[in-house]
């Protein structure tokens, strides 16, 4: 163990970088300082450095908000085994009332204050990791926190820690000291966000940034002077250069972060305010990948029932405040993760509080999280020698899962070891089907994709209002306002989001053939579902204009498109056949050609006087007013094309592949693809 507390404290905040790597980096900086300025490294040559490039996250970049419950959260009263008689007898008066606790199933219940979290759990957006802890932990706050914040496989009590697990992750991103990839709301950077090279930045909550290039013009000489002061190297001990460079970093960061500080004062508890500010930083999309927020006061040695209820209130209010502030576009990119240095003693002490314990509970929260119970509830009849719950899950399993499957880092490298992982972020096998487009005023600049697992992903100017996360999803369709959409499943179920209303579904009804596609009524007040056999189900303002349900088709129907006047629609079959109904006219088909590859979908031209068919190799057939703007027919694709959507002008379209790859043609613009998020489920469709 450490010889003195100063060591410990240093370990738990930033460290002087005395590693050989750190020294050589300083030399590197010194050499480059003589040449050109390096934006983003916290170092600038004399004179004004070039503008700091904004580095927005892409929709496939996971953002992680870490919530540290400092002091040791009483896991046993956060997620309580309320149906276990042992819980009530051991916890005595401090046990949660089973009538008030919020049941999660398996005999467990959430603390009654966590009502917001319970609603999220019911929506399938909260993973509860039970029995999380550390096998070798002692009961010191500082040693335990060092384990959790350090996070490496080879940590032993007393090792000197120079970096934390998210700091090493930031190192791997190539994050510079002036980057804002990692953020903490504090005056110091805690160990978990300190890397060998990178380090998270400490930011204020609310207010205005009176620093950087937005200060009044008469202060402009000050900025240049700070850059002069920050250049070069002094022979003045370990801190002088870091202090001087921090001034430059602080200027660059102020410029970059300005959009996240609109100038109003955020109101509420400190924790709420910090989470609201975290949401603003994510909304500003300046490249933040990891944020750390702390809720303190969990060292509940006395008055557990009262003080813990207050803390749970704050935790719940903070999470809800975060989501209230978070932009719907960014929400699917964010996961929240809680942690605490240890749980607490099962039997209360004489002050109705609980002393330091071992295993606790953690939450991972987000619209792309697969909710449910993970890990194992520690036994109350098999406590350790001090009367503590035995850990069932190493905390680094949670880290490894988040690193590999959410942040897309290399968990083995970051944690310096292998840990069992959870299947925490939605995924499922695939069956190719396609969907057509829905008109939208913003469609040139954004589109949605839905995966078979029911995950909705948004790109460009296109808001995300949530995902059903129901396996067997077949289509997503935008509401004409652009602010909402419907998602359909093969069982005929319909989920509506944003402006899109619910007008009924086939969910729970028995279907002879599965639903394979959906079309939205152009007035936004209804929709059609179409089944593989050509059966049509119409809802709301969408009228029935005929179906192939009574014909015996050689090949199944694979796609549907609505006429823009709402009084007709088309189907297409796998062999390229087209069926037109109501006001929708027939402009030709590929039914008479022998196709190399099957047709997988169709899209109507916005004028209603033509349509496109697309094959799984990306070949496109254009009919009527619909023009040909290119295809991937000649490119060898890694994964088949599954869907197509057109721009509002009809002068371009996107093709989407099963792995989420997007190909834009004509006036359609590329806004990002899902290529890297394969584990969230193969893509089923696209809507613009």
């Amino acid at each position: 163990m450490c010889d003195d507390l100063a060591d410990m404290r240093r370990q738990l905040s930033v460290q002087p970088d005395l590693s050989p790597a750190g020294r050589s980096r300083r030399r590197f900086l010194q050499y480059t300082a003589a040449g050109t300025a390096i934006a983003g490294l916290g170092l600038a040559a004399p004179g004004r450095a070039s503008a700091v490039a904004s580095s927005a996250t892409s929709p496939v970049d996971g953002v992680l908000v870490v919530i540290q419950l400092a002091g040791g959260n009483d896991g046993l009263n956060t997620v309580a085994p309320v149906e276990d008689g042992g819980y009530h007898s051991l916890r005595r008066g401090a046990a949660l009332d089973p009538e008030q606790a919020l049941a999660l199933g398996e005999g467990l219940a959430l603390h009654p204050s966590l009502t917001g979290l319970k609603a999220r759990y019911d929506r399938g957006e909260v993973a509860v990791i039970r029995g999380i802890g550390h096998a070798d932990a002692n009961l010191s706050h500082f040693d335990s926190m060092a384990f959790w914040q350090g996070g490496a496989a080879d940590i032993r009590a007393g090792h000197r820690l120079r970096d934390g697990w998210l700091g090493r992750y930031l190192d791997g991103l190539g994050a510079g000291t002036a980057g804002v990839e990692g953020v903490v709301f504090d005056t110091a950077v805690p160990l978990h966000l300190v890397g060998r090279r990178a380090r998270a930045v400490a930011l204020p909550t609310g207010g205005v940034l009176t620093f950087g290039s937005r200060i009044p013009s008469h202060e402009a000489p000050l900025n240049d002077a700070l850059r002069t002061m920050g250049a070069g190297e002094r022979t003045l001990g370990p801190w002088a250069d870091q202090l001087a460079r921090m001034n430059v970093t602080a200027m660059d960061e102020a410029d970059r972060l300005f959009p996240a500080y609109p100038g109003d004062e955020l109101v509420g508890s400190r924790f709420e305010v910090e989470l609201a500010q975290a949401a603003r930083l994510i909304n500003a999309d300046v490249g933040v990948r990891v944020l750390s927020v702390t809720l303190g006061g969990f060292d509940t040695h006395e008055g557990l029932a009262w003080s813990h209820a207050r803390l749970m209130d704050r935790l719940d209010a903070g999470i809800e405040r975060f989501y209230a502030e978070l932009d719907g576009v960014m929400a699917p990119r964010v996961a929240l993760m809680t942690f605490s240095e240890f749980g607490r003693r099962v039997v209360p002490n004489g002050s109705h509080g609980t002393d330091h314990g071992a295993a606790s509970v953690a939450f991972v929260i987000g619209s792309r999280v697969k909710g449910g119970l993970y890990g194992e509830q520690p036994s109350l009849s098999n406590l350790d020698g001090r009367g503590n719950l035995r850990p069932q899950v190493d905390f680094r399993s949670m880290y490894a899962t988040v690193l590999d499957r959410w942040l897309r880092a290399d968990a083995r490298e970051v944690l310096r070891g292998d840990f069992e992982q959870f299947d925490l972020f939605g995924s499922d096998p695939d069956r190719t089907t396609i969907v057509g487009p829905a008109p939208s005023p913003l469609a040139r600049h954004g589109y949605l994709m839905v995966t078979e697992a029911g995950g909705v992903h948004n790109f460009g100017r296109c808001a995300n209002f949530g995902s059903p996360w129901t396996p067997g999803t077949v289509a997503v369709r935008r509401h004409p306002s652009g602010d909402g959409y419907w998602v359909a499943g093969r069982d005929g179920g319909v989920f509506s989001y944003g402006d899109a209303g619910y007008f009924g579904s086939m969910g729970g009804r028995s279907l002879s053939r599965p639903v394979i596609d959906m079309a939205a009524a152009p007035d936004g007040e209804g929709y059609w579902l179409v089944a593989e056999d050509g059966g049509v189900f119409s809802f709301g303002s969408a009228g029935f204009h005929g179906s192939t349900g009574n014909l015996s088709l050689v090949e199944p129907v694979v796609g549907m498109a609505a006429h823009p006047d709402g009084r007709g629609y088309w189907f297409c079959a796998r062999d390229g056949g087209v069926f037109a109904y109501g006001s929708a006219g027939f402009y030709g088909s590929a039914g008479h050609i022998r196709l190399n590859r099957p047709v997988v979908g169709m899209t109507a031209h916005p004028s209603g006087r033509g349509y496109w068919l697309v094959c799984d190799d990306g070949g496109v057939f254009a009919f009527g007013a619909a023009g040909f703007h290119g295809s991937t027919g000649a490119i060898r694709l890694a994964e088949p094309i599954v869907g197509m959507a057109t721009t509002p002008s009809g002068r371009g379209y996107w093709l989407v592949a099963r792995d989420g790859g997007v190909f834009a043609f004509g006036d359609a613009t590329f806004q990002g693809s899902l290529g890297a998020v394969a584990q969230t489920g193969d893509v089923r469709g696209i809507a613009a």
Partner: protein, 429 residues
Amino acid sequence: MRRDEAEHLVRRTGFGVDQVLVEALLPLGRSAAVDVVTDFSPNPPADAPAGIFDEQQTRWAQTKRLGAWWMERMRSVPRPLEEKLVLYWHGHFATNVDTHKYGWQAWEAHRVMRAGCMGNFGDLARQVALSSAMLLYLDNYRNKAGRPNENFSRELFELHLLGSGGHYTEADVTESARAWTGHHLDAERRSYRFQPTQHDNGSKTIFGVTRNWDGPEVIGEAVAGRRREASARYVVTRLWSFFGYPDPEPSLVEGLAATYSDANQDLAVLVRAILNRPEFYSDRARSALVRSPVELTAALAKGGGISAHRSQVYRWAAAMGQDLFRPPDPSGWSSQAAWISTVGTWVRADFARQLAWRIFDGRTMEAVHQLGPEAAVDFLADRFSLGVPSSQTRRAMEDCWRRGAQVHDFHRFRNAVVLTALSPEMQLG
């Protein structure tokens, strides 16, 4: 004593550099100079700040008053080492007013540390342990026989006396918690009262000795008994890290620990020994420490000649992360790199702007407005005790002054104060 040594000694034992004191030390040898800075008799008596016992006021209003009063002393007393030691002990024996019932309980703990900062360490630790502030902060006032509360017992070993170096076991913590049962407060939670019925009179095994231990005896045993060597190393390492540099060499620690132990844990002997060590004057020591927000704001207010009240240093230090009487956790405040952060820089700049206005408005630096760039930087370096500024700092400040010729005197001066406050020379302690 050489001027640079005298300035270093004054800088480290105070807040900012008092040139009057430096001049007084120049004719003296090191040991005599140390005797001067460790003699607190020239300081005005530290009578209770006005209104501290006024229970009509909230705890926070009371501590704000106390904080402003204390920081004014840091800035102005002739022998500020007294204040610096109390600041050190406030971090060592951290307590937080949020857990108190009355604001004056923070003052009571403060007074105990002030009275004991040059006395016997065991006495100091015992008095702090029985202060209402500590009894409330670490819950010992509810530590009862039969159902002990370990909070105080654990932090006592890990933070106050021994450090987490394996000098005690989990069982020692549990047993010590039993020994501390019954050391409570009166019914109004105003002051210490021993409640015999709540005290566990059974035998306990602590440090391998089994008997009917009582809490305060555990401190004696740790400090001067079976753990005296470990405790000496711990106290020496922490105090040296505060005054000299972090991670002192083992030989240095052993030497000081021997002196301290031979003197029966007399802190005055240890403090003088630290300030007399050649290592204290080494190059390593000179630039090893980053000023904490309290140290930095007090030094800037001292340099600017603005009172703690008018400069609101108490509030600004809190905004930078060092809120007196509200340390973040039982281990007090972090040091060095913990104070180097983006938000810290922004707040320091805001504070410097505000301070510049006070100085300008108070006309305490009128002469500087007539000076050219080089002379102006000399003037500021002297007033704010920057020593010899590095070439980068000097060039930055001179350029800024030169370019400020077109703007109003105040804006030019304000930029210069911000640069001073943000210079590494100012931010190093």
